[in-house]
C-alpha cells in the first residue's frame, strides 16, 4: 500500500532525475557576437576600474601637494638658517641649505 509520503518521495526522485536529464541536454554554444560582447564589457570594466583608482588616488595626491607647498612656504618665510620643513617634519639645518633649494 503506497502512502502519500511514498508517492511524494517518488515524485521528488523523478524531478531530480528530470533535472539531471535537463543537464545532459546539449547546450547551444556561444557565437562570435557573444564573445565580442563579453570582451567589450570586460574592457569597459577595466577602464572603469582604472578611473576608480584615479578617483581614489586623487585626494592623496592633492593632500601631498598641499603639504609640500605649505612646507616650502614655511621654509621660505622662516629663512634659510632657521631649518627646513618637509611634509610637516621640521629638522634642524646646520648646513644652512634652504628648504626652498631642497624643493627646487
Amino acid at each position: 500500500m503506497k502512502t502519500n509520503n511514498d508517492m511524494i518521495r517518488k515524485i521528488e526522485e523523478a524531478l531530480r532525475q528530470g533535472h539531471q536529464m535537463k543537464r545532459e541536454r546539449p547546450v547551444p554554444l556561444p557565437d562570435e557576437k557573444w564573445y565580442n560582447g563579453v570582451m567589450a564589457r570586460v574592457r569597459a570594466v577595466h577602464v572603469a576600474k582604472a578611473d576608480e583608482l584615479q578617483r581614489f588616488l586623487w585626494p592623496f595626491a592633492a593632500a601631498t601637494a598641499a603639504c609640500a607647498l605649505t612646507a616650502a612656504l614655511y621654509a621660505v618665510l622662516s629663512g634659510s638658517g632657521g631649518g627646513y620643513a618637509a611634509f610637516g617634519v621640521f629638522i634642524d639645518d646646520p648646513s644652512g641649505i634652504s628648504a626652498l633649494q631642497l624643493f627646487l
Partner: protein
C-alpha cells in the same frame, strides 16, 4: 581579425598577464571555459537566459580575478562565480518573472500518475515525459524566492553538500539548511495541493 591568443597556456599564466593589465588575454579564458560555463548556467536559469548568465559570469570573473587564489583550481573558482551570477539573475528577475502555469494541465496530472505507478527506469526516454518534467520543475519552483530556488537546486537536484552550497552562495551553513528545508516544504505543499492522491493511488486520473 582571427582569434590568435593561445588557449593552451596554463590558466595561471594567462591570469597573471590579465592581472598585470593585459585585458585582451582574458579572451583566452572566455574561449576555453565558455562551454563549461554555459553548461553550468543551463542547470540554474531558463534556456533563454543561459547566454546572459554566462556573459555576466565572465564579466564578474574578470572584475574579481585578483581575488583568485592560485592554490585552487581556476575551473572551480569559475563555477562558484557562475552559480553566483545565476543567483543574481533570479534576484533581478524574481519580481518580473512570468509564472509559467498557475495550475497543471491533464498531461501533467498524467505525468504524476506515471511517476507514481511506473518504474522510473526508462521513464525519461519518452520525450513527452522529458518536456513535461521540465515544465513541472519550472511550475514547482516558480514561487520560490531566489535563495530558496538556488538552495533547492544545489542541494536536492544537483547533490551538493550544505557546506558546498553555503560556500557557493556566500551564506552560512545554518542559513542554507534553513532555506533549503523551508523551500522543500513549500515545494511539497505546492505539489500536494495540486494532486488528488486518492485518485492517483487508484490510477483513475
Amino acid at each position: 581579425m582571427p582569434y590568435t591568443l593561445n588557449e593552451d597556456s596554463p590558466d595561471i599564466e594567462i591570469i597573471g598577464r590579465v592581472i598585470a593589465g593585459d585585458t585582451d588575454e582574458f579572451e583566452a579564458i572566455v574561449r576555453k571555459y565558455s562551454a563549461y560555463v554555459y553548461k553550468i548556467a543551463a542547470s540554474y536559469v531558463p534556456q533563454e537566459a543561459v547566454s546572459e548568465a554566462a556573459h555576466e559570469a565572465f564579466v564578474n570573473a574578470f572584475a574579481g580575478i585578483s581575488s583568485f587564489n592560485a592554490k585552487s583550481q581556476f575551473k572551480y573558482w569559475l563555477r562558484t562565480i557562475t552559480i553566483r551570477s545565476c543567483y543574481d539573475y533570479w534576484r533581478t528577475h524574481y519580481k518580473s518573472r512570468e509564472l509559467t502555469m498557475s495550475s497543471l494541465g491533464e498531461d501533467h496530472q498524467r505525468w504524476f500518475q506515471r511517476v507514481v505507478n511506473e518504474d522510473a527506469v526508462g521513464l525519461f526516454r519518452d520525450s513527452e515525459m522529458q518536456k513535461e518534467t521540465v515544465e513541472i520543475i519550472n511550475w514547482a519552483m516558480s514561487e520560490l524566492a531566489p535563495v530558496e530556488r538556488m538552495t533547492v537546486t544545489l542541494i536536492y537536484l544537483e547533490g551538493y553538500s550544505v557546506k558546498e552550497a553555503a560556500q557557493m552562495l556566500n551564506l552560512s551553513m545554518v542559513n542554507v539548511k534553513v532555506r533549503a528545508h523551508r523551500a522543500r516544504t513549500k515545494l511539497r505543499k505546492k505539489i500536494l495541493s495540486h494532486i488528488d492522491f486518492n485518485k492517483l493511488k487508484e490510477g483513475i486520473l
